[in-house]
């Protein structure tokens, strides 16, 4: 049973400034399913719409972002939640953080700068569960963060006193305090050094393995997906272009953009020259028609310029949206 089922989601930013109105079609027809007990990776470059997708899935849609089309259904055991038409109070009370929690990118700006870390823990737990005895609660939290490899005195510190890696671990501790079924991680380690990043990602993997929940990991770094994600979806200009288990994505991907993303990365030990993509990422205010990757695609066909390729299921949970594939299977 799918934990999350998204069908044909369209979410646009509509801005109106001094008479100039612009519509940015950030997410333009995305469908995906999240299964229990898996790490689902979403890869894509800047302005491909992955942050907007997260806003919709985590229910933080605020103007100028507006939902145009599509459905987002969660299934927490017997408890069904239609995210797009759900009473905000009940959402706040029984879904937020209990079922869906969130690990942010730059954790420096996410923690309240004028309150100690323990206060943020209290705010969250008190709202959802209530705290009887603050002393007991403090000890519980101290053991909990200790288990996650954080020194105990971190709870009394202020955010500005912690290093980047430490703050990110605090953010993970906060996100997992209620053992939610879905953790959405938005570029959790982009701002960190490579050694600290490894530690933080291992922590995320251990927590997922232990509580058998689902992690939606969003990052532009394909190498992180290779080592952390079970399944990976590649996003380009507001649409999914390919989705498959990690081994297939890295071993037998069919979409030119996916292949480029993987082979363009230099690797220590291999100095062979690597080509770069021509052109620039499309402007989502007026994206190219047909397949949005066609202006930069080396194997572009005539049909690619006019017709949007449908998502074709190649079996083994491998889906791809590219006319090259349809040509071959016919």
């Amino acid at each position: 049973m799918a934990l999350l089922d998204v069908q044909n989601l369209r979410a646009y930013y509509e801005t109106q400034v001094y008479g100039i109105s612009r519509t940015v079609r950030a997410v333009d027809g995305v469908s995906l399913q999240l299964l229990p007990n898996e790490i689902y990776g979403v890869a894509g470059e800047s302005s491909c719409g992955k942050t907007t997708l997260i806003k919709v899935l985590s229910g933080t849609v605020k103007p100028p972002l507006k939902i145009h089309d599509g459905t987002v259904h969660y299934q927490f055991g017997s408890y069904k939640v239609d995210m797009l038409h759900f009473d905000s109070e009940e959402l706040r009370h029984s879904v937020r953080w209990k079922e869906i929690s969130y690990v942010p990118q730059g954790s420096m700006s996410v923690l309240n700068p004028v309150r100690r870390i323990i206060r943020t823990f209290e705010d969250i737990v008190d709202t959802h569960q209530g705290i009887q005895d603050k002393k007991v609660f403090f000890n519980q939290m101290r053991d909990y963060v200790n288990k996650l490899g954080l020194p105990p005195d971190v709870l009394n510190a202020f955010p500005h006193q912690l290093s980047g890696g430490m703050r990110q671990r605090v953010a993970i501790a906060l996100a997992t305090v209620f053992h939610p079924r879905l953790i959405i991680a938005d570029e959790p380690t982009t701002a960190l050094d490579v050694v600290v990043q490894r530690g933080v990602l291992q922590l995320l993997k251990d927590i997922q393995a232990e509580s058998q929940n689902t992690v939606l990991l969003v990052t532009h770094d394909m190498a992180v997906h290779a080592n952390v994600a079970d399944r990976v979806a590649i996003m380009y200009a507001g649409r999914f272009v390919e989705e498959a288990p990690t081994k297939i994505i890295f071993g037998a991907s069919r979409h030119p953009y996916t292949q480029h993303l993987i082979h363009s990365l230099p690797v220590i030990g291999d100095k062979s020259s690597r080509a770069s993509l021509g052109g620039a990422p499309p402007n989502l205010a007026n994206p190219p028609n047909g397949c949005r990757f066609h202006p930069r695609c080396a194997q572009v066909l005539e049909i690619c310029r006019t017709q949007v390729p449908a998502m074709v299921d190649l079996g083994g949970r491998h889906r791809v949206a590219c006319h090259l594939v349809k040509e071959a299977t016919r």
């Binding site: 050694v195 530690g199 532009h220 992180v224 290779a226 080592n227 993303l261 363009s264 220590i268 100095k271």
Partner: protein, 331 residues
């Protein structure tokens, strides 16, 4: 090899910062006794690699003469950079050394046309008398980086992609025909798909334009791809430096090994080694203050001598490594 055929010669440079109040406050040795040099005859790409707080950006400021070193000297073409005072000397220095910055969208003023900077550079460094005579020169450097004047003219930074702007930044740096380009994390903010274009560009500058590049980055993979020599920095020290194949294919210093291991490889097979748990890094400032090797707190092969005094620079297997493991007595 006398002094003046060295393009850049950094001799035992040390820089100490004072953090905290007027009196009191602690001392932070941002750069500690660093030396390296680039030959004028053989243009090369020299990488300064290290994580945040390793001192690589401070070193960059020292090379660009934004800062003058507390101890040691930075010689450019045999002359001490800190003596450069007068406007004419500064222009002379800037003609030969040009920077390329990290964030494409901060390199050019969002309220000015990007091309204006190229015209300014051409006119101020004497390559052209006025706007009209500068146009062909600007067009030539733009073609050199894979763009054309008509493609980017009259454009504001927000009307161009990160990749295009970064190329224009390189083009601007090329106009005064410099001998050395100092690139501070030039590709980290550029999309992966366009990153290789910029990286290949630096290679082309070295081979065709005979320009040496000091490449500052935390990304070992791109460093391996384009540089000739590399120096790994930790808390202000060169812990390992030498030809990039030696340093990255066969790393000796435990910190370099840890860096290489922590780099996730883009194929799923290498799972087990990456999953091994590593010690959590202590807060940066504490590591700066350590006596002896700065890595001792986290080093899997630490010996008690490591915490006593600074390890010596040892020549081993074609590179220099600052570690007691390879000091002749220790074998």
């Amino acid at each position: 090899m006398n002094a003046n055929d060295k393009l850049l010669d950094v001799q035992h440079v040390t820089q100490i910062f004072h953090i905290g109040g007027l009196i009191g406050g602690s001392r932070l040795v941002a750069v500690n006794d660093v030396s390296f040099s680039l030959d004028r005859a053989r243009p090369e790409i020299f990488t300064l690699a290290g994580e945040s707080g390793s001192g690589k950006t401070t070193l960059a400021h020292l090379l660009l003469h934004d800062l003058d070193p507390m101890k040691g000297q930075v010689l450019f073409e045999g002359r001490d950079v800190s003596q450069i005072r007068k406007r004419k000397q500064v222009m002379e220095f800037m003609k030969k050394v040009q920077p390329v910055f990290q964030n494409p969208f901060e390199t050019f003023n969002p309220l000015r046309r990007v091309e204006d900077y190229l015209y300014d550079t051409a006119i101020h460094f004497g390559r052209a008398k006025d706007h009209r005579t500068a146009a062909p020169i600007v067009d030539e450097v733009l073609r050199n980086v894979g763009l054309s004047l008509e493609e980017v003219s009259k454009r504001y930074p927000h009307e161009l992609s990160g990749g295009q702007i970064q190329r224009m930044s390189v083009a601007r740096a090329l106009i005064p025909q410099p001998d050395l380009i100092l690139a501070d994390e030039p590709v980290s903010m550029v999309d992966a798909s366009l990153r290789m274009a910029i990286v290949n560009l630096f290679r082309k500058l070295r081979d065709e334009n005979k320009v040496s590049v000091v490449y500052i980055t935390h990304d070992l993979a791109t460093a391996y791809y384009i540089s000739d020599r590399i120096a790994i920095m930790l808390r202000g020290n060169f812990v390992e430096s030498g030809p990039v194949e030696a340093v990255l294919d066969r790393p000796l210093h435990p910190y370099t090994q840890l860096l290489k291991e922590s780099l996730p490889s883009p194929n799923p097979s290498g799972l087990e080694s990456w999953a091994k748990h590593i010690a959590l890094g202590t807060t940066d400032v504490k590591e700066y203050g350590r006596v002896g090797c700065k890595f001792a707190g986290r080093c899997p092969r630490v010996m008690d001598i490591c915490t006593k005094a600074d390890p010596p620079d040892v020549q081993a297997d074609g590179r220099t490594v600052k570690c007691y493991l390879y000091a002749d007595g220790a074998k």
